[in-house]
Symmetry: C2
Subunit: 346 residues, 2 copies
């Protein structure tokens, strides 16, 4: 089936109405738009087609339609009009750059914070660590019999931690044993010199903890293989709680806990060395906790070299057009900031 102009117009109208109201859109609502000049019945036929094409979904038979992830994707790639920033919005972002903070990471942290109040989404930013990290220390801390916290400290102040649920109980003694083997073999070694085979070696050394060791080594490998140990800042996490999609406390908690663990979000934005604004919609984030979230990311440069990322997190129902224009502009301002202004601020 072909996506003709009328289908496009209807898809666009559905998405824009849903972005605004967070409620399934019925045929009558669409038909009332004067530009289209068609009856609800016709809209219903078209909507049925769009649903068949996987662009719309129906929460239940007697409800209106909502966009699917694929629908948003088509909208974002082909239909979305560019949002023009207002003079006020531009002024506010420029004025953000006036913050007189000389340390780059405090500055980015504050921009993230303050900007989140202006945009009403959650803002995320990473600061790249230039130097190659070395693992300094491992620590395993049992929370209860089946849950441990694995903590990895690198020499660049970076701490990564994750909660791991085990299939069999672990004692404090086991934890000390495993930590010390990990420390003896891997501490002090630069991350780039650790590879799968050195980790496999550990597996045989720790054979007596067979069932426990696998998820631990997985996390260690993940730590050393995410090349840049970027610092991550969030601003306005609580903005997420304003969206009706998170009015269920369990859903909200699940999401906030996911974001609280910074290695999670690092995984989402890792390996996205791209030149322009990138949009990740719902399941494209590859994490069930983010299935109803979208992320809009843009790289920004410091001194024309090291690359950090700044972006927004919101429900898939977010205003993509506005988000893209905002993040694009903000990243542009940051680029200019690092080139010209840092010197004089010092």
């Amino acid at each position: 089936m072909e996506l003709d102009d009328r289908k496009k117009a209807i898809l666009e109208a559905v998405i824009e109405s849903y972005i605004e109201n967070a409620e399934p859109v019925g045929s009558r609502t669409i038909a009332k738009r004067k530009q289209l000049n068609i009856s609800p019945a016709t809209v219903r036929n078209e909507m049925a087609d769009l649903e068949e094409m996987g662009l719309l979904e129906q929460p239940h038979t007697s409800a209106g339609r909502i966009p699917s992830d694929l629908g948003y994707r088509v909208y974002v790639d082909k239909l979305m009009k560019r949002y023009e920033l207002t003079a006020d919005e531009i002024n506010r972002m420029r004025s953000l750059m006036q913050l007189k903070i000389s340390e780059m990471d405090s500055l980015i942290r504050e921009i993230t914070n303050i900007y989140s109040r202006l945009i009403n989404y959650t803002v995320i930013a990473t600061m790249p660590e230039q130097k190659q990290a070395t693992i300094k220390h491992f620590q395993i801390m049992p929370i209860d019999s089946h849950n441990i916290l694995l903590i990895v400290v690198t020499d660049s102040k970076m701490v990564k931690e994750t909660k791991i649920t085990l299939t069999r109980p672990i004692t404090l003694y086991d934890a000390v044993q495993i930590s010390s083997v990990l420390n003896e073999s891997l501490a002090g070694v630069p991350c780039k010199d650790i590879n799968i085979s050195s980790i496999k070696g550990l597996q045989s050394e720790l054979y007596e903890y067979d069932e426990i060791i696998q998820p631990i080594l997985d996390f260690v490998y993940e730590c050393i293989s995410t090349e840049d140990n970027a610092k991550i800042f969030y601003g306005g996490i609580t903005n997420l709680l304003n969206f009706p999609e998170y009015s269920n406390i369990n859903r909200a908690r699940e999401l906030l806990e996911y974001l609280d663990n910074k290695s999670n979000i690092q995984r989402v934005i890792a390996h996205r060395q791209h030149e322009k604004v990138k949009i990740l919609i719902g399941s494209e984030n590859n994490a069930i906790e983010l299935n109803d979230c979208s992320v809009v990311l843009s790289p920004y440069q410091i001194d024309g070299r090291a690359i950090g990322t700044i972006g927004l997190i919101g429900p898939t129902r977010m205003n993509y057009s506005k988000a893209v224009s905002n993040i694009e502009f903000l990243a542009g301002q940051l680029n200019r900031l690092s080139e010209y202004n840092m010197e004089e601020k010092k």
Copy 2:
């Protein structure tokens, strides 16, 4: 009316049951405790007395009783038995101190984070800034016509911001004007040299912005008068969402937004230069957003001089006994850490 032994026992039983189950406690539940050996009817009489004394409350006529803030206060001051830490708990806290992070503030930040996973409350810690701060820069950023963000940057990387709601609209131009007056008069001046009269002077200089200026000056004064511009870290903010008292998303959002603004919590813990563990129950926090929260705080020392604070935040229904023992022990460990261990870690 006197608080005799039986009344004490009943109050204690009600509080401990409510701490555990988060549900109003009925007379039958209390009477079933064998130690007391009294009938539900007697308990009901006693409970009515305790209610009259302001120690218990009734959510509605046919429900059981819940403790009032005053009830908790009496419990905490007079009835509560000391919780003895288990060997495991002690080991875990000691093992927390093994974290090999040389920068003190990163270390405290991580301890806060990781400890929150062990204790399941929200952990809060401040790092004192030794040196006397100087205000470096003011900035006013309009969010919309009636809300502004006031940002104060000091030379010690500290940034304080607050959202202020105005009684009349403000333009971007007004904001620039007011900022520049503030900057001209106050930037570069050490906080200790700014006092009420220098602020009063500004008020006449900015007379044309009469209605707007008052809350702004209030915040400025608050900034400069909180003597230590401590950094504040939170760990496990999302732990709060596990408590049934915050299962209402609006309540949860209100609380998280309050905590998100660090100057708020600074106000709560400011001027608490005390020697031992301090407990603030519900309304004692002097903030409506914290009316159903309690805070358990302890000072800790770095190099025997500068004083930071570490503590827990939870619902008023928190396990005070456990919280106190934990925070006391943790603060003790931190004291020892800074005295002996920091050198060798460097």
